[in-house]
C-alpha cells in the first residue's frame, strides 16, 4: 500500500481537513463505485424504492388474475396481525440484522463482502458441534460456548476471503461468493458424515438436547432471545462506526482511499478487521438460527440469507442503526407473504420479486446520486 512519509503535522492537518469536509460533516453514503448520497436522503430513497417495487410487483399479481391491493392487504394483516406472527417475523429478522449490520460495516470501507451465507453456514456448523457434544454442561455455558464457536467459525471463514484479497489481490466479491457455495456444501458434508442423524430422511443432525436451546424471551410466545443480540450488535456497530477511531478509518477508506493512505491508515489491517467483525456477526447469526429456530443443523439452513444481508445493508444506507428497521421490513415481508399465500392463494414467492426489485431500485438511486455528484 502506498504510504508516503509525511511528518506528523502535515498528517494531522490532512486528517482534520478530510474529517471536516467529506466524512463527518456530510456523512456520505459510500458504496461500491466510489460515490455517495447524503444521509437524510437515504430513508427517503429506501421508501421510494420499496414503493416502486410494490407498484411493479402488482403486474405479476394482475397477470395471475388476483387483485394486488387485496394481496398487499392480506400481506400486511398476516405480518402484524397477531402476537404469533410478530414473534415469527422477529425470529426471522434476527439473522438478517446480524449479518446485515456486518455487511454494512464492510461496505462502508468499500469491502464488498457478500459472503454472509457461507459465514452463517459454518457458524451454524460450529455451534451445532458444541451443542451436540457438550450438552451435559449447564445451559448458559453450552449456549455461550456455541455462540462463541459460531462467531469464531464465521470470522475464520471470512478471514480466508480477507487473506485472499490482501495477499493475492483476488476481488473479495469473487472469493466470498465462491466461499458461500463451499460453506453450504460443508454443511451437507458434515451432515452426511459425523454430525448427521442416522436414518433421517432429510440431511439433518439429531435434535439438540433441550439445555442448548436458546430460551424464549416471553413464556408462551415462540420468540427466542436472539433479537437481543441483533439489537446489541446494531448499537455496538453504530458506536464503532461513528464514535471510534476504527470507525473513522473505515469511513475514511470508503470515502477516499488515497486520503486514507496519506493519513497513515493501514488498508490491510482495516479490511482484515472489518471482515472479521462481519464474519463473526454472521457466524453468531448461524449459531442463533440452529440453537433458536431449528434446534438442529439442517442442510441449506442459511440459503438466501447472504443476499438478504446485502440488500438490507444497502436499503439501510449502510447505516448500522437503520439496519434494524430494514431487517425488520424484510422479515415482516416474508412473514406477510406466507400469510398472503395461505389466505388468498397468491404465491408467496412474490416476496422475492419485491425484494429483488427493491434492491435494483435502491442501487439505481445510489447510482443517480453519484451522477449528481460527479457533475
Amino acid at each position: 500500500m502506498l504510504r508516503p512519509s509525511i511528518d506528523n503535522n502535515q498528517r494531522e492537518e490532512k486528517t482534520a481537513k478530510i474529517d471536516k469536509e467529506s466524512v463527518i460533516a456530510k456523512r456520505r453514503w459510500p458504496i461500491p463505485g466510489g460515490f455517495g448520497v447524503t444521509t437524510w436522503r437515504a430513508p427517503l430513497l429506501a421508501a421510494v424504492a420499496i414503493g416502486l417495487a410494490l407498484a411493479v410487483s402488482a403486474v405479476p399479481i394482475l397477470i395471475s388474475g388476483k387483485n394486488p391491493l387485496l394481496a398487499y392487504w392480506a400481506m400486511l394483516r398476516g405480518a402484524i396481525g397477531s402476537a404469533d406472527s410478530i414473534a415469527f417475523a422477529l425470529n426471522k429478522s434476527t439473522p438478517y440484522i446480524l449479518a446485515g449490520v456486518g455487511v454494512a460495516m464492510c461496505f462502508r470501507a468499500k469491502v464488498i463482502n457478500i459472503g454472509s451465507e457461507g459465514q452463517i453456514a459454518v457458524g451454524g456448523v460450529a455451534a451445532s458441534w458444541i451443542a451436540l457434544n457438550f450438552s451435559e454442561f449447564p445451559s448458559v455455558i453450552v449456549i455461550a460456548a456455541a455462540l462463541i464457536a459460531g462467531a469464531i467459525a464465521g470470522a475464520a471463514w471470512s478471514a480466508i476471503a480477507a487473506v485472499m484479497r490482501l495477499k493475492r489481490g483476488v476481488h473479495e466479491v469473487l472469493c466470498t461468493l465462491m466461499l458461500n457455495f463451499i460453506g453450504l456444501l460443508v454443511v451437507s458434508e458434515v451432515l452426511r458424515g459425523p454430525m448427521g442423524e442416522p436414518g433421517a430422511g432429510f440431511p439433518q443432525s439429531p435434535l439438540f438436547a433441550e439445555s442448548s436451546w436458546l430460551p424464549n424471551l416471553f413464556p408462551g410466545i415462540d420468540m427466542h432471545a436472539g433479537i437481543i443480540f441483533a439489537v446489541a450488535a446494531v448499537v455496538i456497530c453504530h458506536v464503532f462506526l461513528w464514535h471510534t477511531p476504527f470507525g473513522f478509518r473505515l469511513r475514511l477508506l470508503g470515502g477516499s482511499p488515497s486520503a486514507a493512505a496519506y493519513s497513515g491508515v493501514s488498508f490491510g489491517r482495516s479490511v482484515f478487521e472489518v471482515m472479521l467483525i462481519a464474519g463473526g456477526l454472521a457466524g453468531i447469526a448461524g449459531a442463533i438460527e440452529v440453537l433458536g429456530v431449528h434446534y438442529r443443523l439442517i442442510e441449506g439452513f442459511s440459503q438466501g440469507f447472504g443476499f438478504n444481508a446485502v440488500a438490507i445493508a444497502l436499503l439501510a444506507g449502510l447505516n448500522p442503526l437503520a439496519v434494524l428497521p430494514a431487517g425488520l421490513f424484510f422479515a415482516f415481508l416474508e412473514a406477510g407473504a406466507l400469510a398472503m399465500q395461505r389466505e388468498i392463494g397468491v404465491p408467496s414467492s412474490l416476496v422475492f420479486v419485491i425484494q429483488g426489485l427493491t434492491m435494483i431500485f435502491v442501487l439505481c438511486a445510489i447510482g443517480i446520486g453519484a451522477k449528481e455528484r460527479s457533475v
Binding site: P32, V170, V173, V310, P347, V353, Q355, G356, G367
Partner: protein, 307 residues
Amino acid sequence: METKVIIEVLAASVRIATPLLFAALGGLLSESAGTFAVGIEGMMLMGAFGGAIASLICHSAVAGLLASAISGATLGTIVAVATARFRADQMVTGLAVNIFAFGLTSFLLRGLFGGNAPAIVLPTLGALSIPFFSRLPIIGPVLFAQPALTYAAFVLAFALQLFLTKTRFGLALRAVGENPAAAFSTGTDPGRVRMVATIAGAAIAGLGGAVLSLQELGTFTDGMTNGRGFIALAAIIVGRWIPLRVMLGCLLFGAASALGLNIQGWGLPISSYIVQMMPYLIALGVLCGIGRKARMPAAIGKPFIRS
C-alpha cells in the same frame, strides 16, 4: 472399469457441460465488455422458464428456444439499464436480478397454471447422431451423438473466440472492457457497447436455461438452475476470460459433475459433496494463482464516467 462406462461418463460430461457452456459464453461476452455477469444464474432461470412455457403453448421447440433467448435478454436489459445507465454496482445488481428471476418464475409458474406446484411435462430434444463421425470409436459416442443444442454450444464457443479476437466489433467490445476512455476516444460509445454486450450475453445465457428445461429435463421447476450460473461464473474465471479455455473449464466441471453423480454407484471413498465443491475450489485456486496478473478485463466493474 469398462470402456463402456468410461464412454458413458464422458458423454454425460459433455451433456452436463452444455448449459454451463452457454451460460459461461454469455457471461464472458458481458464481462469482456466490462460488466460482471453475476446475474447469469437468473438469466438461465428466465430462459428455462420462458422456453418451457413457450414450447408448451406453441408445441414447438424452436418457439421455446426463441422465447428462452428473449426471456434471458429481458432480464439482461434490466441489468444493462441499471448498470450502464444508472451506474448501479454490477455485482450487487447481479445478485438482485437473480433473486428477482427466482421469485418471478416461481410466482408465474403458479400464477399462470394455478395450483401449488404444477408439473409441466415436455418432450425432450433427442440425440442427433452425426453420420460417419458418430461411428468413430470412443469420440463418436462422446462427441457426435449428442442433442442439437450441445453442438450449438460448442460451435458458439469457437464463434465467440473468432468474434472477440478477429473482428472489428469484437475488438472494440474488448477495448471497452479494458479501457473505456480509450475506446471512447476512437468513437465507440462504451455505455452502448456494454448494454448490447450484456443483453446479448443474457440471451445466450437464456439459451443455457433452455438446454436444461427443453433438452435435459423436459420440465420447469422452481430454481431449477440450482447454482449452475455460478459454476459458469467459476468456469469463466478458470478459463481466464478466453472462450476456448472457458469451454475446457466447462467440460472439466461437467466431468466433475458426471463423476459426482456416479460416485455412489461405484462406491468410491470420496464424498459427492467434496466433488461438488471442486468448481469453486479450482476457481479460487486460479484466482489466487493469477492474482493481480489476472487476464480479467481491466475496466470490469468500473462504471464509465464521461468527462
